[in-house]
C-alpha cells in the first residue's frame, strides 16, 4: 500500500484508508490529487490500494506539476506531539513497568521517488489539546481513546467490555493506515507515580513497515532514582524492517532533558505521589 508504483496517464487511482480515501491521477507532468478525510472517531478498519477508482466530482482537486514516473502515498508523523489519556488513573509502584500500545493517525504525503512531496494532508481529524498550564505549554493532537496498560505476567482474558463512552484502543490497532507505537513507562524511582496523560514527541521516531501494518520505534520513559525522567527511543526491535519514513531529526537516540525536567514530567503526565 505504501510502495512506489508507476501510474498510467489519465487513470485515477484510489486508496481506501479505514474510512478516509485518497486519489491520484497523472497526465504527463500534471498530477491531480484528492483526499477525503474523516473524523478520527469514525474510523473503521479496512485499508487497501492503490486501485483504479474515480473520485466524487464534489471533492476539491489539488494540482501539482513536476517530473516523475513513480509515486507513493507515504505516512508522516504529525509535527505536533500526540497526547493520549489513560483510562482511569494508573499507579505504577516502584520497580513496575507498564506498556501501552497506541495507534497514531499520520499525515499522508503524495511523494515522488526521490522524496519530492506533491501534497501533504491530514486524513484523520483529531481535536487539539493543550499540554501545560495556562501560561505556557504545547499545542498537541488529542487522541480520543483511553488506554489500558499491558503489564508483565498478564494472562489473556475474554474481551472485556469497555466502560461506556470510552473508545477501545483495539479498534484503532486493527487499522492499517494508522501507525502503531509502543510506549513503555518504567518506574525505577523509590516512589509510586500516577499516570494521567501520555505525550509522544515524534521528532526522533521512524516509521517502519511490518507486514501489513506500520510501526514506529518504541518510546521508553524511565523515572529514575534521582526522581528525574529520561525518554529514550528504542530502535532494536525495528532492525530489519523497511523504513517508510525516517525521523525528522537525527542524532542520539536518547533524548535527555530537551526542555527541562519539569516539562518532561508535564508531557508525560507523571507526578510523584
Amino acid at each position: 500500500m505504501w510502495n512506489y508504483f508507476s501510474p498510467e496517464d489519465l487513470q485515477w487511482y484510489s486508496w481506501e484508508l479505514d474510512g478516509a480515501r485518497a486519489w491520484l491521477r497523472k497526465n504527463g507532468e500534471e498530477w491531480r490529487l484528492a483526499l477525503e478525510g474523516i473524523d478520527f472517531r469514525a474510523i473503521q478498519p479496512g485499508a487497501k490500494g492503490p486501485i483504479p477508482a474515480v473520485p466524487s466530482l464534489e471533492l476539491p482537486i489539488f494540482f501539482s506539476v513536476g517530473k516523475g514516473t513513480k509515486i507513493a502515498l507515504r505516512p508522516q508523523l504529525a509535527h505536533r506531539p500526540y497526547v493520549i489519556a489513560v483510562r482511569n488513573d494508573v499507579r505504577l509502584l516502584p520497580g513496575a513497568e507498564a506498556q501501552f500500545d497506541i495507534a497514531l493517525p499520520p499525515l499522508l504525503r503524495f511523494e515522488l521517488e526521490g522524496g519530492k512531496v506533491l501534497l501533504e494532508a491530514e486524513p484523520f481529524t483529531v481535536p487539539n489539546t493543550w499540554f501545560g498550564d495556562k501560561t505556557s505549554g504545547n499545542l498537541c493532537h488529542s487522541l480520543p481513546m483511553s488506554l489500558d496498560p499491558r503489564c508483565a505476567g498478564e494472562k489473556q482474558a475474554p474481551a472485556d467490555s469497555a466502560a461506556p463512552g470510552t473508545h477501545n484502543a483495539e479498534r484503532y490497532l486493527a487499522c492499517r493506515s494508522l501507525v502503531q507505537c509502543r510506549l513503555v513507562i518504567r518506574n525505577q524511582s523509590k516512589e509510586s507515580i500516577d499516570l494521567d496523560r501520555l505525550a509522544i514527541f515524534t521528532d526522533l521516531i521512524n516509521i517502519y513497515q511490518k507486514g501489513e501494518f506500520m510501526v514506529t520505534d518504541s518510546v521508553v520513559i524511565v523515572a529514575n532514582q534521582d526522581g528525574e525522567l529520561q525518554t529514550r527511543i528504542e530502535k532494536e526491535k525495528s532492525r530489519g524492517l523497511t523504513v517508510l519514513q525516517a525521523a525528522r531529526s537525527s542524532g542520539i537516540s536518547e533524548i535527555l532533558v530537551r526542555r527541562g525536567v519539569s516539562f518532561l514530567k508535564r508531557i508525560a503526565g507523571l507526578e510523584p505521589v
Binding site: 481535536p127 487539539n128 489539546t129 499545542l139
Partner: protein
C-alpha cells in the same frame, strides 16, 4: 563704528586659517571625529548583534540609540574643542536652557520616560496584540515617545507612551491559550442537564476547541426570558476567528437538533382602552 565683536576663541580661530598649523589641526580633528564615529558605528553593530540574542527588540533599539547619540556627543565635543569653543561654559548655558526647555517639553519628556518604563517593564512586546480603550491591534514598534499599532482593519495608530502608562492595556496574546466566553439563554422549559451535555459534545466535536483545559459550562442565573448559561471554550490564540465562527454555527445547529430553545426576549403588553376595558 565698531564691527561685531566675536569671542576671543573664535577670533583666534579665524586668524589662524591659512596657516600650516591650522590645516594640520583641521585634518587631525576631522580624522579623530571620523574614527570616533566609526568606532561608535562598530559599537552599535556589536551591541545589536550581542543584545538581540538575549533581549527583546525594543531594548536593543534603545541601546543602539544610546550608543549612537553618545558617539555624536563625543564627536561634537571634540569638534567644538578643536574650534576653540569652551564646552564648560556651553554646558552651563545649556543647563539653564534645559530648564526652560524642560518646562516647554514636559509632555515629550514624560513620553520619553514612559517609553523607558514600557521597555523595561515589558507589559507587551512587538508583535503582540493589545487593546487600549477602543483601539485593538498589533504592536508594530515601541519607540521612545510612542508606540505604533496596526489595527485589524489596517489603520495605523500612534499612541503616546504617557497614555499607555496611564491607562489599562490588555495584552491579548501574552499567553498562548485563551478562553472564549459565549453567553446565551435557554428557555425555562429546557432540560438543563441536556443543555450541559449538548454543550460538552459541541466542544468535543469542534476541532478548534481544546479539550484541556476543559470547557467551562456554567448555569449562571435566572433572567426575564430564560436561564443564563456561560459556555467557555479554550483555544490556541491564533484560532480565535475560526473558533468563533464555527462554534456559533455548531451551537445553533445542535440546539435545533436537540430542540433546545434559545428564547427571544418577551414582553407582555396591555392596551387600555377608553372606558376602562383592558386588552392583554
Amino acid at each position: 563704528m565698531n564691527g561685531i565683536q566675536l569671542p576671543d576663541s573664535l577670533q583666534t580661530f579665524f586668524q589662524s586659517i591659512g596657516t600650516t598649523e591650522f590645516w594640520w589641526k583641521a585634518i587631525s580633528t576631522i580624522l579623530t571625529v571620523a574614527v570616533i564615529l566609526g568606532v561608535f558605528r562598530f559599537l552599535q553593530m556589536a551591541v545589536v548583534r550581542t543584545a538581540s540574542k538575549k533581549f527583546p527588540e525594543a531594548k536593543v533599539f534603545l541601546a543602539r540609540k544610546i550608543v549612537k547619540y553618545a558617539g555624536y556627543s563625543i564627536a561634537a565635543a571634540i569638534l567644538l574643542k578643536a574650534v576653540g569653543i569652551n564646552i564648560t561654559a556651553l554646558l552651563g548655558a545649556a543647563g539653564i536652557a534645559g530648564i526652560a526647555i524642560g518646562f516647554a517639553a514636559q509632555t515629550s519628556v514624560s513620553n520619553l520616560i514612559s517609553g523607558i518604563f514600557l521597555i523595561s517593564e515589558k507589559p507587551f512586546e512587538m508583535g503582540d496584540v493589545i487593546q487600549t480603550g477602543d483601539i485593538t491591534g498589533t504592536v508594530l514598534s515601541i519607540d521612545l515617545l510612542s508606540i505604533k499599532i496596526q489595527t485589524f482593519d489596517n489603520r495605523f495608530v500612534r499612541i503616546p507612551n504617557e497614555t499607555i502608562i496611564k491607562t489599562n492595556v490588555i495584552n491579548l496574546t501574552k499567553f498562548p491559550i485563551r478562553r472564549m466566553d459565549i453567553r446565551f439563554q435557554v428557555s425555562y422549559n429546557a432540560d438543563i442537564e441536556k443543555v450541559i451535555d449538548t454543550c460538552a459534545k459541541i466542544a468535543q466535536r469542534n476541532r478548534y476547541a481544546l479539550d484541556n483545559p476543559e470547557p467551562l459550562i456554567l448555569v449562571d442565573s435566572f433572567d426575564n426570558s430564560g436561564i443564563n448559561i456561560l459556555f467557555g471554550i479554550w483555544f490556541e490564540r491564533s484560532q480565535l476567528v475560526s473558533l468563533k465562527n464555527s462554534i456559533i454555527i455548531d451551537i445553533q445547529r445542535r440546539f435545533a437538533e436537540e430542540q433546545i430553545e434559545i428564547p427571544y426576549p418577551k414582553m407582555d403588553v396591555y392596551i387600555k382602552e377608553n372606558g376602562g376595558m383592558e386588552n392583554g
